[in-house]
């Protein structure tokens, strides 16, 4: 049941946090079907927020050398190469000499392949390259916010979740709480850092830096209600044109985090993108846990009493 200060279920987080007459909830809809992997979002975010560079590491995960979201990466573009078609795309590699043994030497040397385990190694005809810009989800029920002992993490009037670096003591509770593995502590100063949905820009009536920079409008910013409607239409359009794997992620206010302030249109299972399939706010079960603990304590007490009574006889 949803009531004030609920830890689960549908909710409008800003009024619930105590704001009187806040603006409409703001968020991101990231339509990964039009992402061209340019990484302008990564750069724009770092430039605006003065996020440090996080190392020159060739990760070899296709063109993804960022790896994951973290204290020094608040936008992360994932690249997934798959031997599968998108929609009704014609297979680009049909009738080409692919597969092991193509060439002058035919020993198979057990090279780490780029196909998924279990996929056929005998030639490939299809190719698709998924690209997606990941970001903090600004959950309706944000575990990081719930567990923060200092009050550094707070809910803004826009419904977003922001860390105040001057209050954060680097305890790291938020890091283990986040079901998406987004927030992290910065090695050089110990504090927790993450996407602020450009809170300062929102206050100035500007859109976040990543949304502004994105050339194809893969990253869309606006009122969350309106974004959800747009996403529904886009999904219908895609599925209607044969892209049946298209799906929305984080849009459902009945999911384990009450729906995300930043939700996505994906072209495959969430796990393919490195996203958890069924994220649950880690504090959702707290009331139940306390009830169980209380019941256990009561049973313990009752048992102790019974033991004493029994012993006296």
């Amino acid at each position: 049941m949803v009531s004030r200060n609920s830890l689960s279920g549908p909710l409008d987080p800003a009024p619930d946090a105590g704001y009187v007459d806040p603006p409409a909830r703001k968020g991101f809809f990231t339509d990964t079907s039009v992402c061209i992997g340019c990484k302008a979002c990564e750069v724009a975010c770092k430039e605006w927020n003065d996020v440090p560079a996080d190392g020159l590491n060739l990760l070899g995960m296709s063109f993804d050398n960022t790896g994951s979201l973290g204290a020094d990466s608040w936008r992360h573009v994932a690249f997934i190469e798959q031997s599968r078609p998108i929609g009704e795309q014609s297979p680009p590699f049909q009738d080409l000499p692919t597969g092991p043994g193509m060439g002058t030497e035919s020993q198979f040397l057990g090279m780490p392949g780029s196909t998924l385990p279990g996929a056929s190694q005998d030639g490939r005809t299809d190719m698709r390259w998924l690209m997606a810009s990941d970001v903090c989800k600004h959950c309706t029920h944000a575990a990081c916010l719930d567990v923060c002992p200092t009050g550094s993490l707070f809910r803004t009037e826009f419904g977003t979740v922001v860390v105040q670096p001057d209050i954060c003591n680097g305890c790291g509770y938020c890091v283990s709480a986040c079901p998406y593995g987004v927030i992290d502590r910065r090695e050089t100063d110990g504090r927790a850092w993450k996407c602020t949905l450009c809170y300062d820009r929102l206050k100035g009536d500007l859109e976040p830096a990543c949304a502004k920079a994105c050339p194809t409008d893969s990253i869309q910013y606006g009122d969350l209600d309106e974004l959800r409607e747009r996403a529904d239409r886009r999904l219908e359009q895609l599925q209607g044109s044969g892209v049946t794997e298209a799906r929305l992620y984080g849009h459902d206010e009945n999911d384990g985090v009450g729906g995300d302030g930043a939700f996505f249109l994906l072209l495959d299972e969430p796990e393919v993108y490195g996203l958890p399939p069924d994220p649950v706010v880690t504090t959702r079960d707290l009331p139940d846990m306390w009830r169980h603990a209380g019941l256990a304590a009561a049973v313990m007490a009752a048992s102790a009493v019974l033991a004493f009574i029994g012993a006296r006889r």
Partner: protein
């Protein structure tokens, strides 16, 4: 396009969202391919065969837009009976001189015009190649008489349509499969899609960039695309055309107002010491006496330019100081200059925002050339490799360069970035956009404008007392730009005003290039830009948002010429002046008002009726008929067949790249017979069939860009936010090649050619695929060319692998295809590296006095050399 023009690519995505189909043809599956509806992998260097196949498909199946082709192209024009096609001469055209490797083009002319004065004499072709005059012809439309013999039924055996059809008859689907590695089914899918999406109701746009231009047949690549688009009626129509994307920001501007040896502003030719000895010879050559078209006013454009340079000193008595203009005496192209530097013939070099140590072909030759100068001035944002090669370049590690002994004195001057200065950018649509200065440059950083203005001022001061005649050219230059600010920055707006042009008498700005005069009464810094400062308003600075205007958006910036957004838009209406269809309505003739109207500026005289037919003795603008949309061509028609202007053939012909693992199987002529070669010890070329030992370099490599980096890396390797996105030089290989050469993902490999061995981390990816070409499997590898020794992310430079082999028309290097070997592990270092590469040369039979057999027509055309 998504890799190199991500912001422009949003419009491709927008078109997709509205139902457009995107087809991507490329040797490699890129971020563009990821969002395309169809991706077609093909062998690098085989695009003329691929497009030729589509042309053949269109002609054989009569899928051409017939009314457009008959009315608007030279399809009906009859060609001289002396012309012999490449199909009959094993890959050569009539008129080939094997001694000079040039063509006498008189047999290529239209019937009835043989012996015509103009560019047809054979002696000139050699000069044309030296001076890249192909570029001049391309923009000038060549010289032929305006009235020609035509057969509008297209049946005459020597009409262009039939000549074209015979020429491309060999380019069957089976040929495309064999030569390009594109399976027939895939190829036919592209043909059908392209042909069906062209015609009255629909248009298809062809988009290309340097993946096409940087070949020894680069100009013919684009010609093939243009021919196909003309046959399908896509040129001059909305949603159609040939969109030439360029290599980087404002490079369009750097050919419009050029820093090229063979061109003056507005594509006027740089005078040649023999052909243009006098002003009149220069003007006559440009204006093509007796031709149709707007080049007839070339005298006004040229003389107004001279007035811009020398102002009051330029008078009719001294031919407007024409003698002050430098003259070409041969090949002054950058690659010839580099080889001249190695031979000690050049004393000094200015490099401004250019990094040839990394960005130009044959990196070693570039660096060794720069090491043999008296002085080198480098202006850039960072200490790029072209400034530091003498202390940390690859030749220092190998011992070829000893820093203490390098005689070049290098001056590095820090440059202001694009946000620290105002001025225009000219981008791919010929659009000029004015940029404001956002911040003052820090420290000693200065703009180019500041640098050249003050350099010129100081040189003039030094020469002030000179009595030498040769110094008059500098002393008489108009140099009175107003300056402002604490650094005496010259006014960019004043320069733009001069480029626009004005009347000398009252300095009133001109509105159109038709107002330029040849009597010294006007100044015009660049005739195609006239109008950018019309009415004294900086038109390039206009920023009316697109929400407040139509899709043509004429009030955002200013496009040359005359703010015309779609060139040749007369062709968007039929010969009677009506739109071809309601759906593709763009410009049309309004009978009542007696003018052409529509959302754009008409690319035609506004009041010339479609029914106008020029009198027989007319020339120049008056000779253009009411149904001649291609107003810059001498016959007013789009050229399916080019009788003049190109050094390597009136029609595109498949030639193998200068370095190829395959024998040309369409003709005996292996490569472009007229290509520019530099047979120099510093520029060895890998062997190609019919030369033996081509299999020492069995793979094909191609180079291009990553979104995260910028050209030769000077603006991205030094920036941490960009460097971390692509933090290492890498080579992309298919899993099949990885297996064959024992390459490990994220391990090391090195790529070897006769010039160099370049090491890179390995990226094994399914996106790279082997192809079946000439009945054997061939592997292609891909390298980004952004890396060098400097910056936060360092690595070997891909361009070190390339040789200098140039297209003969415009002298562009072939950097998009070459042959190579690929081996696992890092390359040797130090002098051992030289031995390693020398060993490859030895095994490939590449000796110091290499003689490449360029003319191979008439030899047996066998397929694939055996292993």
């Amino acid at each position: 396009m998504a890799e190199a023009h991500p912001v422009g690519f949003q419009w491709v995505m927008e078109a997709k969202a509205r139902g457009a189909k995107v087809i991507h043809v490329d040797p490699r599956f890129t971020r563009t391919s990821a969002v395309a509806d169809t991706f077609v992998p093909l062998r690098a260097g085989s695009d003329v065969a691929f497009l030729g196949g589509i042309i053949n498909y269109v002609l054989q199946n009569e899928r051409d837009f017939r009314e457009y082709v008959v009315a608007y192209t030279n399809a009906a024009t009859i060609v001289s009976e002396d012309f012999v096609d490449a199909s009959d001469l094993d890959g050569l055209f009539s008129g080939f001189d094997p001694e000079t490797r040039t063509y006498d083009t008189s047999s290529w002319q239209y019937a009835g015009t043989e012996g015509h004065e103009g560019d047809a004499s054979s002696g000139e072709s050699h000069t044309d190649r030296e001076t890249a005059s192909g570029l001049q012809h391309e923009s000038h439309g060549g010289a032929t008489p305006s009235q020609t013999q035509r057969d509008e039924t297209l049946q005459h055996p020597r009409c262009v349509y039939q000549v074209l059809k015979r020429h491309f008859a060999r380019y069957t689907a089976e040929t495309v499969e064999r030569v390009c590695g594109v399976p027939q089914e895939t190829f036919l899918e592209v043909c059908e899609a392209w042909a069906s999406n062209s015609g009255r109701e629909r248009t298809t746009m062809l988009v290309y960039s340097v993946g096409w231009t940087q070949h020894t047949t680069g100009v013919q690549y684009i010609r093939t695309g243009a021919i196909l688009q003309l046959l399908l009626g896509n040129v001059g129509r909305p949603g159609g055309g040939v969109m030439a994307l360029r290599g980087h920001a404002s490079i369009q501007g750097s050919t419009d107002i050029p820093t090229l040896f063979d061109l003056l502003p507005g594509y006027l030719p740089m005078p040649h010491h023999e052909q243009h000895e006098t002003l009149q010879m220069w003007v006559d050559d440009m204006s093509h006496l007796g031709q149709k078209g707007f080049w007839s006013d070339a005298g006004a454009y040229g003389i107004s330019l001279l007035k811009a340079y020398w102002g009051e000193a330029a008078t009719v008595e001294n031919d407007y100081c024409y003698d002050y203009l430098p003259r070409m005496t041969g090949d002054h192209g950058t690659y010839q200059q580099v080889l001249d530097m190695i031979e000690g013939k050049i004393s000094g070099y200015f490099l401004l925002g250019q990094n040839p140590a990394v960005g130009s072909a044959n990196g070693k030759a570039q660096r060794l050339g720069m090491a043999n100068l008296d002085w080198l001035v480098v202006r850039d944002l960072f200490l790029i490799e072209s400034a530091t090669f003498w202390q940390d370049g690859p030749e220092v590690a190998t011992g070829e360069l000893v820093p203490e002994q390098c005689r070049t004195e290098v001056f590095f001057l820090p440059a202001a970035s694009h946000v620290e200065k105002e001025g225009t950018f000219t981008q791919t649509q010929r659009l000029l956009q004015w940029r404001e200065k956002a911040v003052e440059p820090e420290g000693d950083c200065r703009s180019e404008l500041w640098f050249f203005y003050h350099l010129g001022r100081m040189v003039k001061e030094r020469l002030a007392d000179s009595t030498q005649r040769r110094d008059r050219a500098v002393l008489d230059l108009v140099w009175d730009y107003p300056t402002h600010g604490v650094h005496d920055e010259p006014s960019a707006e004043a320069v733009l005003m001069e480029i626009n042009g004005y009347r000398v008498a009252d300095r009133s700005p001109l509105t159109s290039f038709t107002e330029l005069r040849d009597d010294g009464s006007t100044v015009g810094g660049c005739w195609i830009y006239t109008g950018v400062y019309a009415d004294g308003v900086n038109q390039a600075a206009r920023r009316t948002p697109r929400s407040e205007q139509d899709a043509v958006a004429s009030e955002w910036g200013w496009a040359w010429p005359a703010n015309r957004r779609l060139l040749y838009n007369r062709a968007s209406a039929d010969p009677e002046g009506r739109p071809w269809s309601e759906r593709k309505k763009y410009m049309w003739w309004e009978e009542g008002k007696g003018e052409w109207t529509g959302p754009d500026v008409p690319d035609f005289e506004r009041n010339k009726a479609p029914s106008y037919r020029a009198p027989d003795d007319a020339s120049g603008v008056a000779a253009i008929n009411g149904d001649d949309p291609f107003i810059m061509q001498s016959d007013g028609k789009g050229w399916l067949y080019a009788p003049v202007g190109l050094l390597d053939g009136p029609m595109p012909t498949h030639y193998e790249a200068a370095e190829s693992p395959f024998r040309n199987s369409i003709y005996g002529q292996q490569g472009n017979p007229t290509r520019k070669v530099y047979e120099d010890a510093a520029n060895p070329t890998n062997p190609s069939p019919p030369q033996p030992y081509a299999d020492v370099f069995p793979f094909i490599f191609t180079t291009s860009r990553l979104t995260e980096h910028h050209t030769a890396g000077g603006m991205s390797r030094y920036v941490e936010y960009l460097a971390e996105l692509q933090p290492a030089m890498f080579v992309e290989v298919s899993p099949e090649l990885a297996q064959e050469r024992a390459l490990e993902h994220l391990g090391w490999a090195h790529v070897v050619t006769a010039r160099a061995a370049v090491e890179a981390r390995v990226l094994v990816t399914d996106r790279m695929v082997p192809l079946r070409v000439e009945n054997r499997v061939v592997h292609q590898v891909w390298l980004p060319y952004h890396w060098g020794q400097g910056g936060l992310t360092t690595g070997d430079s891909a361009n070190d692998l390339l040789s200098i082999n140039l297209d003969p028309n415009v002298l562009i290097q072939e950097s998009k295809v070459g042959t190579c070997d690929v081996r696992p592990g890092r390359r040797p270092t130090g002098p051992a590296l030289l031995d390693y590469v020398a060993d490859y040369r030895r095994r490939a039979g590449v000796a110091g006095d290499q003689r490449i057999p360029i003319v191979t027509a008439g030899q047996t055309s066998t397929s694939a050399e055996g292993h």
